[in-house]
């Protein structure tokens, strides 16, 4: 079963004279549990593709089916539903400085009605232990290293067991060692849970974790 199925996607910014085509006739499908890395030079359109897959940007031509929902010309409610089933990892950790690691991870669960406070904290503790932060549950971001912070944000993206995780340059602000550790943890947790992962990166040091590598250049998949 395809988690992501893209057919004939075109996308452009601007209108008329200023119109700039960033994605041309994209065809792409990703299986359940597959880890896909999308690489390409700056301005190749890879981030735009990621935001369309995540329901953060609206495409108007072609077909983009994610988790069985058509996202092209979709309404806000559809995109909102897709977002709630997707985990996001950004280049910066984007953690609340006022909150502990546990509280930051719980933010992803407070969105869902089905958990009690105890269940949220237990789930947060479990996933933080899995990313190697079992001794840092009540640390705030300022007390953690860059790699540890990114592991908290990985825990936050995974704690609600999303079907898809979208990551944008997750290692860009980390050194080689902690960057590779972070994505390795991401990979092993994804494999355990059958989570599909779509990573956009420039970082050639982490290409080894991918099942498949897609290269995008000038809006076209090579």
């Amino acid at each position: 079963m395809n988690m992501i199925d893209v057919r004939g996607l075109n996308f452009a910014f601007g209108e008329g004279e200023l119109r700039r085509q960033v994605l041309r006739d994209i065809h792409l499908s990703v299986d359940v549990g597959e880890i896909v890395i999308l690489t390409g030079p700056s301005g190749s359109g890879k981030t735009t593709l990621l935001t369309i897959l995540g329901g953060l940007r609206l495409a108007t031509s072609g077909s983009v089916v994610v988790l069985g929902e058509q996202l092209v010309r979709s309404d806000a409610a559809t995109r909102h539903a897709i977002r709630r089933q997707t985990g996001y990892i950004f280049q910066q950790h984007n953690l609340f400085l006022a909150l502990t690691a546990t509280e930051n991870v719980c933010m992803a669960l407070e969105l869902h009605d089905r958990f009690s406070e105890e269940e949220r904290v237990a789930a947060a503790h479990q996933i933080l232990t899995q990313v190697g932060l079992g001794r840092h549950l009540d640390y705030r971001p300022a007390q953690l290293s860059g790699g540890q912070r990114q592991r908290v944000s990985i825990a936050r993206a995974l704690v609600s067991r999303p079907k898809i995780v979208l990551a944008d340059e997750p290692t860009a602000s980390l050194d080689k060692h902690s960057g590779h550790d972070a994505v390795e943890i991401l990979r092993s947790l994804a494999k355990q849970n059958g989570t599909t992962i779509f990573i956009v990166t420039h970082d050639y040091r982490i290409l080894d974790i991918a099942d498949r590598i897609i290269n995008l250049e000038d809006g076209v998949i090579n």
Binding site: T47, L50, T51, G54, L56, R57, H80, R83, R84, Y88, F90, Q91, Q92, N94, L95, F96, L97, A98, L99, E103, M107, A108, E110, L111, H112, D113, R140, D168, E169, A172, V200
Partner: protein, 390 residues
Amino acid sequence: MTGLRPVFFAARLAWRQLVHDRPKLLAATLGVLFACVLVFMQLGFRDSLYTSAASAPLKMQGQLFLLHKQTEALWRPVSFERSTLMRALAVPEVRRVAPLYMSLGQFKNMDTHVQRTLMIYGYDPNAELIQIDQFESFRAALQHQDTAIFDVTSRPEFGPIQELIASGRDITEINGRKIKLVGTFSMGTTFAADGNVVMSDLNFHRIYPSRSLDQIDIGFVMLAPDADIAAVQAALLRLVGQEVQVFTYPELLRFEQNYWEKSAPLGFIFGFGTLMGLVVGMVIVYQILFTDIGNNIPQYATLVAMGYSHSYLRHIVFASSIYLAVIGFIPGVALSTILYGVAEHSIFIPFPMGFDRIVSVFFFILTMCVAAGLLAIRKLKSADPADMFS
């Protein structure tokens, strides 16, 4: 998320962020506290003005009062003929009438010899027109030539009169005439008069020799115990309404307060001061909320990407503004209560801190903070997750 859960979670997040950043919390608290104290003081001054304006008529004992038609305020009455007051005796329910003479005069400080203006009341000591504790003990002395009693709540610039009398120095000058102070009483100062002196009508005439005793300032009318005050008032108006105004006791109080509220632009001045305090407080709270949103844009955008709605983000901002209102208000009330006490002691005018005052100022402060929040939430528009991807 359904029901009140998002509101609760947003309020909890706002609280955690607020207590995490102590310097910011302190700055915000001081901003709200400042506005709070400013509003309390403005309202306090306004109210004490109105109360003190009425503190003179408050002590006047009579059922009906006659004032010249042109009298605008009690502290500067226009005199009228004593015979007009005497005609009131024609109404059967009227038991007695008595004239009160009053005028601002010069009182010499016995130590510094500096003259200051105070209010001088003159009336027959047998009449007891002004409520004074143990007045009987002064009555005999007041009937002597050139005697008076002094209001100890007068401003301290008149000298420590009570101590001076106790030490035997009881002769001062009023309007340049030597007067012996034979006792003290408590009445209260007003914005028109820094102090008060009471003497007999004859002594009043001695220090104002040019004023005839036939020209009186306020006519007091005392009625039979079971008399219908409104009916007598109507009867008096028919009788002497051409020359004088006839007030009941509550009307007299309202008449005097009205003067300060309307004729003097005091209500506007204090209202403007209150508004300025709230505007300054709002700007401070707005700045803090706005900067805080700006610092958290990546985090808020991440929440939106996860599936949180923009209304959740607005709840965070409004919860913060309500917290700031409460956190700033509590020390604000405490400090204002202390300042009310200080003001009461230094200007000798009552500053009551009532429960309704506290409630209404809290409402002002809450409105101020929520308005600041309303202005700040525009900044949330920049929390767009599509911009978060580099």
